[in-house]
Symmetry: C2
């Protein structure tokens, strides 16, 4: 046989002798192909990725290779993780406490939660390409105001505990910080009380005082009401009691305190809403409306206020406005930003929240409608009455005649252990409240069979026979909430009353999805946001039942799968950050900041530094930094930038020395928010340390560090990681996110604990750990598999390569664009993983906003606008964008540069040009009248090849109010918000 | 407490005392809400659904309530089915024989296979709204022609066995039916040979002759070559041998026989393609390129021919054409239809095929590209060489020096039982070929660990120790296919060379999805196609691993989950159809027809009726009916319609009596393809029976029967069910589908069997069962959960309600439209579940095609066009469409009627109007020049409220060839195709 020809041409026989799997991931995660990488490197004058990054990253901080496993195949990682997570034991949980079983309709599961068209989009700052999800978030706000009967609701907060803390801060601020007492009923969920205490403890000035509602005269118990800024209760309370709070709320009000009610949206379908008994703020978790428990999160918290408080409400508020054509259009209202600008200090650092989860809840209500939701509530209530009757027939005493879903049950003396055993045998979790009491919370997911099992368990514990569930249900006494019965309608808006068949629901979901741009459509080059690939393999475990169906307060031996994954993830994050311990509790970057600063605070307090309260923050810092510092009661001292945008080391030194006695810490982002690896970073750290302060590193830019350098290596003491940036958790249109913190040995003992769950190796030391900063012990546990899978798929080398490619992509784009725009800030021509394009030179003619909106006409999401510098665009391509997409974007920007030139040179009309009128809707382009000074084609198809798959924004430019221009990523820059000390 | 007010107003306390679950499905499946149903009924003058359908369905056939379970909740059904299917045991299968493990990239899994935007679309008859999936199918054809090196390929056929049968029919037809011998190598997969024999046996005239390739001189063995229409081999063959067929193909060719090669696309990346050694036809299964085994299907078969055979190739051919603007656009080529029209008799009845699966394979190749696919093949080959070396080291004899993936292994005497046991212990399936031989087929899914286990099993059987897999791999001898090595390139088109990162793949999938209309966007009112809801809960089990990962020839005790589900589904289908036995083997409606007619044929043969060969078919029948009849060698005698479109009973009687001696059967669709419940259906059946014939019922319109009447009750003997119509399997853009048949006691013994799998209770009687009609014993098993879940969710009453609502929706629309269009055929004003709108009255000015294309401008998929009557539109809304969507469609049709009037009355230009120019692309509407006699607005937004979510077709009207106008739903009507006997 002669195979010479064959061998020498196209198909050489394989030289591989390796059985290694082929479904490797690094090449799937990274955009450019090898030959493109070479081209790009050579354009930049480098011979290899190492060559590029060795020049870029200061020598002093370059790290050794990470000690991590190699890249694994997609099948292998999923199979292994499936095995690990199958160690979770899914008992039926009747624990309640803010976490309930629920049934997520499959049409929403598949077409929203499992659909990249929904989960990969960004916070709707660019309203024109976000009308779909804005509509859905508006639905969320509507259902919250309807059910609570409050005037206005946001969309959304991180969890019930932090929502309560926000309410407390509001109350305190509302009382001009003059009233220190914050009353909270002891029948509020314990984790909520604990979060309040953590917050109050650090901000200083607030005292959280619990009061006992069982006391003879509750209002008497509130003996310091005149000193109280707020009073908070839970309705129904943590033990299931439904109390009429009219008198208490009136008393609070007349004493000038804000009356706050934590509540349950499902219960409010049957109960008089807090808005009707005088609540000023109503908050809670919307989890049970469709969002799986997920071992604690992510879930959306809701937050609703009376009209008079709306200007100081935290979080994101979606509003209805009009577009440039006078058409109705949705947008994020700016008032929460105005609030930041107007007020002396921030009370809230909320940024990434839980948009995707709010959308699930909104869609759940759209699908069920008012009647459906009410039926669900009634069935839950029937379940609880059935159990109640059954228990009473067996001789158990059940507190409270009328309950919604939670029974407080007295266990006969000596029977508690037996009860626990019987329940365990049946794989049932109750809430064991005390030596002789348990609670049982029923929910939508409970079946008749479940109830029977539950009753059998109770019966066995006392040697009785349980009644039959269906019989008990048939003769269960009717509930009578009396004057606390709901009489007012809800969910009356048409959107909640038409999409009740699956076909309609599906089309509504698709209609909204297709109005928007997500990563499924195009690059989203938002600087500081790291919109990289959220790979399917990473997302798959999120909707596994063994991930979704675990109650966060289930005994730890039922969570072995989770804990084992936490161990592995923590281990990786430690290696990546160079720290010795990680807390997985903070459920956003900003929460991570608060947690990290709290840990610093606790450390200082414990080590003779309780007076240290100066926090140095460079002026270019993200707005959450100073907000978080304010939340731990620190005083912010800004540090200047030099002409190259770097931290002015002299200014830093001066201020550090000046405040040496009181210096608490520096907060710094690295590489800087200007997208540069600042050379003297080690010096900066040293200056702070030398003056007795600690260094907090904002890890938002970790995508430029992983594998090349590390916060720990740089000398920082603590750092948060936005897992929704560098570690692939999708942004979900504005959340979820996760913000774990890594700390060094010094700070490790102070990591947050939890009042309900013994956090073991995942929390600080007994006695030194700070209180919880989130409601759940491990934050948004159910999305942690995403980051875990990502790390496993990439391996140490892959992670480093991702960083290098992110830097290469940014430098390639900057290089192609630098002839056309000024690229602000670089180090000898090199940027890190993002860069800033200056639009200010054209400001007399064209604004950054014009460019951002014009990019929509080209089929792109705008870069980060006017942050950290007003009048600029910050571009971050990430490693996942293919070269062709980088080029498409660059070509669009070059074409726009040409359009700018036309305006600047007077060839195009100053007020009526393709930029000022952007974006152009199809309706505008198609209108029969056309009297613009440019052609339709130029407006709609400015570059060749756009016809077939042109993205049409459903609305034109939003009519925005003052302040918009300077805002990005919610949280405005330090300069705008904080009254700096005179420099 | 006073709760009187509360109770009496909005929120009455619940009166429910039932613990039944609330996630009930019937109300989700059905579009109109209860109050709308009432309105619609009252518009039609009925007081209830029963009232409507009792009037509609002939009294003589109305049935008793079905004996079925009640509706169950979505959670319950999924949980139960999960339990059932978990009884499947997923062994590692090395059985091969056309079914292999494969790795479906998750990004394709989630965004194509699990995405309603892909799976709910219809066959791309309306090219303008199908450009996305047409492009993907063209990719499929391209990869097939590339890998086989043939001139032209279709997209796609049902399975390898039926593809072989199509090839045989082609060969026979090509030889003008003068050459009876069809040679097939005995080294072709046994199920393929069996399918060939079944086909040949019924069509009559063809003799399938097997020949032994091991014979000294193969060509000598083909001693009847001069009588042969075709010669078929397998390459690599079923035992893994790779043979050079150049000589044989040359010999065949010179004898005037078609040379057919069954092959394996993955192997062809390394092997010389059949197109280069003279094959005329190459066919096979594309399964291993990304499609899970799914216990036998669905998978796409490929079929490629040399140019000279393209006019007689079966199946759907996608072609490149231009649109009305001269832009490139894709379409289904019409030549396969022309073929039908031109030829004397049909050789193929292929209609629904495997488009979705072809698209998965196409995307798999897009994702991997030429290099990736080759690496996969090389790794598979390395695995097989590793195993080969390992076995030889243990003393096993392995046949053939150079193999691709399959080893023929000699088992030492007396060791076979031991081997079987060792393998079973390790959960490994081999193919046990004979007393002393096994084959082992390796595939992409095999890991190093798997190989080690496999070797260990072989070692244990002979008391040896196995080598280490990785060592063996490292020193496995290189493969040398010599002159059979592949030298020609493949997948060189850019589409296979750019989408290799996950980001690019995702965007490509989304881009194509968003060009098209699917049920996720709007109603698809295709008459006869039953485009109803494909609910998510029904779809979820399809991608469970215990559904996807089972080899169809695995021992039955590993398939207990499947078999138990088959039992339940068969039981339901029996109750629904009124038959006594069901075969789940046919994998499309047309296959069901062929199976049913074959069973009739077998019964007649067995009962003294072998001469009976007349098949009566009403002229309105679907084209597959006569095609199928031709395939079992029957002679078609058409039956006229009367003026009302009903079967002309007198004509029927006359013909039945005239042919009484030779009457085989009647094929009839009920309700008729005209959408009417014909009154005398029982008389019709009786006439046929009285004249010695049997009745075949085409179950395409079962959506009008379920729960109201039944084929069995009507007296039919056999009927197929298009599960992809009435039973919710999505159409997948042109398949998959399933066409099980139900039969009465008479025919039950003849149901199809299978040569490899003992079909037990699911096949006919030993000795009487016909051969297999599909390659897999249970057809496309992995989509059967869809229909099973649907039935479980609906329960007996729910199924009946669905039927009634389908009828109500159709009648509501017909009623609203009847003032504007003539509604052809009805019974006292009532239609069944579909109705025909007559466009012929306007034919001098406007065609049905104009209306169909204009509907795209209104955002709709057209109804079935020009079938069963040319110049008409047949509308089938199904029960799942909400009233609002029915109204939106009716409003569009009324508005179009106005537009027609303008043309007819001369107010609009005859050749240049909104209808003739439809559909209008955005590029057309936006063009700077506009010189049409109507406005842009009128063209693009003919009704209010369309601006925001307007669907823009990516191309204008396709430039179609002759014949298109009369074709709908692929298969043209009887009149056009068949040369009827003179009447
Ligand atoms: C530099 C920087 N710091 C902090 C944050 C806040 O993180 P999160 O949105 O997760 O709260 C962001 C968010 O974009 C950021 O860019
Ligand atoms: C009346 C009728 N019969 C038969 C068929 C063929 O069924 P299939 O496409 O599943 O092969 C169809 C398909 O639409 C049909 O409408
Ligand atoms: O494809 C058809 O529905 O005929």
């Amino acid at each position: 046989r002669s195979s010479t020809i064959a061998r020498s041409t196209f198909c050489r026989a394989s030289s591989t002798t390796s059985l290694a799997p082929l479904d490797t991931f690094v090449r799937r995660h990274v955009g450019p192909r090898d030959h493109e990488t070479k081209e790009m490197l050579s354009l930049l004058g480098f011979s290899s990725l190492d060559d590029l990054t060795k020049k870029n990253v200061p020598k002093a901080i370059q790290r050794q290779p990470m000690q991590m496993e190699q890249e694994k195949s997609e099948e292998q990682v999923l199979n292994e993780l499936y095995g690990v997570l199958s160690k979770n034991k899914i008992f039926k949980s009747y624990i309640g406490m803010g976490y309930y079983g629920t049934v997520l309709p499959k049409v929403i599961l598949r077409n929203l939660l499992e659909n990249p068209g929904w989960y990969t989009s960004y916070t709707p700052y660019q309203a024109e390409i976000s009308q779909g999800r804005l509509e859905s978030l508006l639905n969320f706000q509507t259902l919250v105001t309807d059910l609570t009967k409050m005037d206005i609701a946001n969309a959304s907060l991180l969890d019930e505990g932090t929502a309560a803390a926000e309410a407390m801060n509001m109350a305190y601020g509302n009382a001009k910080k003059k009233k220190p007492v914050f009353y909270v009923s002891s029948a509020v969920h314990p984790q909520t009380i604990a979060v309040l205490k953590t917050r109050a403890g650090f901000v200083g000035g607030i005292q959280v005082v619990t009061f006992d509602e069982n006391h003879n005269d509750v209002t008497k118990n509130l003996d310091r009401l005149s000193e109280a800024c707020g009073v908070m209760v839970q309705y129904p309370d943590t033990y299931g009691r439904v109390t009429d709070y009219s008198a208490m709320s009136a008393a609070a009000k007349s004493a000038g305190a804000i009356f706050i009610t934590a509540s349950d949206l499902l219960a409010l379908t049957l109960l008089k809403p807090p808005g009707e008994f005088g609540a000023d703020i109503v908050l809670g978790s919307a989890q049970r409306l469709g969002v799986p428990m997920g071992y604690g999160g992510p879930h959306a918290a809701f937050f609703a206020v009376k009209d008079n408080l709306k200007r100081i409400m935290p979080g994101r508020l979606i509003g209805v406005s009009v577009d440039s054509n006078g058409k109705r259009a949705y947008r994020m209202s700016l008032q929460t930003r105005e609030q930041h600008i107007r007020r002396e200090t921030a009370t809230s650092n909320i940024c990434t929240a839980q948009a995707l989860l709010a959308n699930i809840t909104a869609m759940y209500c759209v699908y069920h409608g008012p009647k459906g939701i009410k039926e669900i509530a009634e069935r839950v209530n029937l379940c609880s009455r059935t159990v109640g009757s059954g228990l009473q027939e067996m001789g158990y005493k059940v507190d409270h005649a009328d309950y919604f879903d939670t029974l407080l049950v007295h266990v006969p003396a000596g029977k508690m252990n037996q009860l626990k055993e019987e329940m365990k045998k049946r794989e049932i979790n109750l809430r064991y409240v005390s030596e002789d009491k348990v609670t049982v919370s029923l929910d939508e997911s409970v079946s008749e069979k479940d109830i029977q099992e539950l009753l059998n368990g109770f019966a066995a514990a006392v040697g009785k026979k349980a009644g039959t569930a269906s019989d008990l249900a048939a003769r269960a006494p009717a509930v009578d909430f009396g004057t606390l019965s709901r009489t007012s309608p809800y969910l009356t808006h048409p959107v909640f009353n038409v999409h009740h068949s699956e076909t309609e629901m599906l089309r509504y979901l698709k209609k909204l999805e297709n109005k928007d741009l997500s990563l499924a459509n195009c690059m989203i080059p938002l600087g500081s946001c790291t919109m990289k690939l959220n790979a399917t393999t990473e997302m798959i475990p999120v909707t596994w039942p063994q991930v979704g169906n675990l109650h966060p307060f289930a005994p730890l031996d039922q969570a072995e799968g989770y804990l084992s994954m936490f161990d592995s993830l923590s281990q990786s994050l430690k290696e990546i950050t160079g720290f010795s311990k990680v807390s997985l509790q903070p459920n956003s970057g900003a929460q991570g900041e608060f947690a990290g600063l709290s840990v610093i605070r606790a450390y200082l307090n414990d080590n003779g530094g309780s007076h240290r309260n100066i926090c140095l923050i460079p002026v270019s810092a993200h707005g959450t930094n100073p907000a978080s510092a304010a939340m731990v009661g620190m005083k912010i001292v800004p540090v200047k930038s030099d002409n190259d945008g770097n931290v002015d080391v002299n200014d830093l030194k001066e201020k550090a020395e000046k405040h040496a006695k009181d210096l608490a810490c520096l907060m710094i982002t690295y590489p800087s928010t200007h997208g540069v690896f600042e050379e003297p970073i080690k010096d900066i750290v040293k200056i702070v340390h030398d003056n007795g302060g600690l260094v907090y590193m904002d890890g938002a830019n970790m995508n430029s560090q992983v594998g090349l350098c590390s916060p720990g290596g740089i000398g920082a003491d603590v750092c948060h990681l936005n897992l929704h940036k560098t570690f692939c958790i999708p942004h979900g249109g504005g959340g979820p996110g996760m913000g774990p913190i890594g700390v060094n040995d010094k700070l490790a003992p102070y990591l947050p604990g939890h009042p309900v769950v013994d956090m073991q190796r995942f929390g600080g030391e007994n006695g030194r750990a700070i209180g919880p900063i989130s409601a759940s012990p491990f934050g948004s546990s159910s999305i942690l598999p995403i980051s875990h899978v990502y790390i496993q798929l990439m391996g140490g080398e892959g992670l480093k390569k991702a960083t290098q490619m992110a830097i290469l992509n940014a430098n390639y784009m900057a290089n192609r664009l630098k002839e056309h725009y000024s690229v602000l800030y670089h180090k000898e021509g090199l940027v890190a993983h993002e860069f800033i394009l200056d639009i200010r030179p054209f400001s007399a003619h064209v604004t950054a906003e014009d460019v951002a909106k014009r990019l929509i006409d080209y089929g792109f999401h705008a870069p980060t606008m006017s942050w950290p510098i007003a009048g600029t665009l910050m571009v971050e391509p990430t490693e996942s964008e293919p070269k062709a997409e980088l080029d498409r974007f660059v070509d669009a920007m070059i074409s726009i540069r040409q359009e700018i030139r036309e305006v600047v040179e007077g060839r195009a009309d100053l007020k009526n040009n393709v930029l000022s009128n952007a974006p152009h809707t199809a309706a505008v382009i198609n209108s029969d009248e056309w009297n613009r000074p440019y052609s339709r084609k130029k407006a709609a198809y400015p570059l060749p090849g756009m016809e077939e798959t042109k993205y049409w924004p459903p609305v034109g430019r939003l009519d925005n109010v003052y302040g918009d221009r300077n805002l990005v990523c919610t949280c405005p820059s330090v300069e705008e918000i904080y009254p700096f000390e005179h420099q």
